[in-house]
């Protein structure tokens, strides 16, 4: 058993190498980066981070991203809850087709939709708002949330619903007081995946915003192309984008393996 665990250890090391390099770069000055190769920063500097935390165009990028991602997670999970319940408990006209149609939207390449999305959200006056990006990300997050939640709900015995009805609970009371708490783990896993896919998606987020709701990715692209390629600054900005994800994983760490097994995903 001990000898076998060398494989995961090597794999984790492989995963961490590029992240280490990004971190090392972020503490170097631009001169040192362009001057030559060194494993560790020779003169540690926090200047790159200072720029990000003092320049509003930088730190607002993070705030904007977190705003639309949170908004999207809330919308996706709230809308998916009743739908997943319907799919797991009831048979209705066209249910299978509807489920597959939802999944097809998970398959639509965002590049296909970039331009029409821009026109759609401009025409309804939502261009460059957080809600526009949050709504656009529903395209792939709602199907995913329905898929995950449906898996978890199907694992809950139907007797719970029936007992509650016999005990005289109204449907909303039953749903929110009894049913939702029993699938807490599923909601956590669904929210985790919605957060993840909304946080990492950048093409639509960039297309739908200009100034007021500009995500961090757009700010980074600007740095990469202008001002003579400031690698240190780019690396620092990159390192900071890892933090929200790391925090979210920490919260679901106990569900991460079990959640995959319980749900369909």
């Amino acid at each position: 058993m001990q000898r076998r665990s060398i494989v995961p250890i090597l794999y984790v090391l492989f995963l961490l190498l590029p992240i280490y390099w990004l971190l090392a770069m972020s503490f170097k000055t631009t001169n040192e980066i362009l001057g030559g190769f060194s494993l560790l920063p020779q003169e540690w500097t926090l200047d790159n981070y200072r720029v990000i935390f003092t320049d509003p165009t930088w730190y607002w990028g993070y705030i904007n991203s977190i705003l639309y991602v949170s908004l999207n997670t809330v919308i996706s999970v709230l809308a998916a809850l009743p739908a997943a319940y319907a799919f797991s408990r009831y048979r209705f006209l066209g249910d299978k087709h509807l489920f597959f149609w939802l999944l097809t939207n998970r398959m639509a390449p965002p590049a296909v939709f970039a331009l029409p999305f821009f026109q759609l959200y401009s025409s309804v006056g939502l261009f460059d708002t957080h809600i526009a990006v949050a709504l656009a990300h529903c395209l792939f997050n709602i199907p995913l949330a329905v898929w995950i939640l449906e898996g978890f709900m199907s694992g809950v015995p139907k007797e719970i619903d029936e007992t509650a009805m016999v005990d005289g609970y109204s449907f909303p009371t039953f749903f929110f007081k009894i049913f939702v708490p029993t699938i807490k783990a599923g909601i956590g896993v669904a929210a985790f995946f919605c957060f993840m896919f909304s946080w990492v998606e950048m093409l639509l987020a960039k297309t739908l915003t200009a100034v007021a709701a500009k995500p961090i990715a757009a700010t980074m692209t600007k740095t990469a192309s202008s001002a003579g390629y400031e690698l240190g600054l780019l690396a620092a900005a990159g390192c900071l984008t890892i933090i929200p994800g790391a925090i979210v994983i920490y919260f679901v760490r106990n569900y991460i393996a079990r959640g995959f097994a319980l749900g369909r995903v």
């Binding site: 058993m1 665990s5 060398i6 494989v7 794999y11 984790v12 492989f14 995963l15 961490l16 190498l17 590029p18 390099w21 990004l22 362009l34 190769f37 009743p82 739908a83 319907a86 797991s88 009831y90 209705f92 006209l93 509807l98 597959f100 939802l102 999944l103 939207n105 398959m107 639509a108 390449p109 965002p110 590049a111 331009l115 029409p116 999305f117 759609l120 656009a136 529903c138 395209l139 709602i142 199907p143 990492v200 950048m202 990715a217 980074m220 692209t221 780019l234 690396a235 990159g238 984008t241 890892i242 994800g245 790391a246 994983i249 920490y250 760490r253 106990n254 991460i256 393996a257 995959f260």
Partner: protein, 286 residues
């Protein structure tokens, strides 16, 4: 058994409205463009299926599609076996397991443009860790901006780095759901490691692996941001995958008609392959 209940449509209504708004309106816009010709100033002319003929017969589209299939096949061939192997060698419990899982999930939560930028910095020939090591320590000439082969390998390695963890997590979830009794029974029967894998672990993982293959197929077929940031599709056209080519035509050259026709063909291919997977998956369930 599920109860027949048509009121269930009320439950799914919010989802339908939200997704339809995002899916149908843009899809109709694309369909609209795909059958029209424009000379600017919002003047459009009926063009019939002309753009579709042009796209389906264009060398450029065939080349991009070929590269796309090659890329998807390569990463599936690497990530699925590698992910299963890693999941199999993970201990079933212990202090280090959650730590390992959290570290493995990390690449999945890094924004895609940052993944591209990170690998760009990592592979720079003179100042990147990998680029420097390969050029100056190992002695292999490595420059992604010059050599198409190097660029291609880098894009594949980046994707393996980025997504193998998803396969590991799914396969591991399938593995830990196997009761200990199964292993004890296998031990009593004197089953070899291979037969334990073939007759106990693989069947239990089948479901999660189908999901893993489906997700990896869909996502790698639509990949855009990471290779675009890493190589910009170059050198030449060597890493111009389907999405990159599409965005070049649509937003770079503003050829809306051909781009829209190409989008629809692209979407249809993704849909077809995914549908095949989906039917196979649900057929086994019944």
């Amino acid at each position: 058994m599920k109860t027949p209940n048509q009121k269930a449509w009320l439950f799914v209504a919010p989802v339908i409205i939200l997704v339809a708004f995002n899916a149908l309106v843009p899809l109709m816009t694309v369909v609209n463009y795909s059958v029209q010709e424009t000379f600017g100033n919002n003047l459009f002319f009926w063009h019939g299926v002309g753009w579709f003929e042009q796209v389906l017969n264009s060398e450029r589209f065939h080349a991009a599609l070929g590269r796309q299939f090659l890329f998807t096949a390569t990463i599936l061939a690497i990530e699925i076996p590698l992910g299963v192997a890693i999941a199999l060698s993970m201990p079933r419990s212990g202090f280090w397991v959650p730590v390992c899982l959290v570290l493995m999930a990390l690449p999945l939560l890094i924004p895609w443009n940052v993944v591209g930028a990170m690998w760009n910095i990592f592979t720079l020939p003179d100042i990147g860790l990998l680029g420097y090591t390969l050029n100056n320590v190992v002695g292999i000439e490595y420059n992604m901006t010059q050599s198409p082969v190097a660029a291609w390998i880098t894009v594949v390695v980046m994707d393996v780095w980025h997504w193998t963890s998803l396969v590991v997590l799914l396969a591991y979830a399938g593995l830990i759901s196997i009761p200990d009794a199964y292993y004890q029974a296998a031990k009593i029967d004197g089953a070899s490691n291979w037969s334990v894998f073939r007759y106990i672990q693989l069947p239990k993982m089948k479901r999660v692996l189908t999901i893993a293959i489906l997700l990896r197929f869909m996502d790698s077929f639509m990949i855009y941001t990471e290779p675009f940031v890493l190589t910009g599709g170059g050198p030449g056209n060597s890493t111009t995958l389907l999405s990159i080519d599409l965005v070049k035509i649509a937003l770079g050259q503003f050829d809306l008609g051909p781009a829209a026709a190409m989008s629809l063909v692209y979407f249809a291919i993704t849909l077809l392959v995914s549908w095949l997977f989906y039917t196979l998956m649900t057929r086994d369930e019944e």
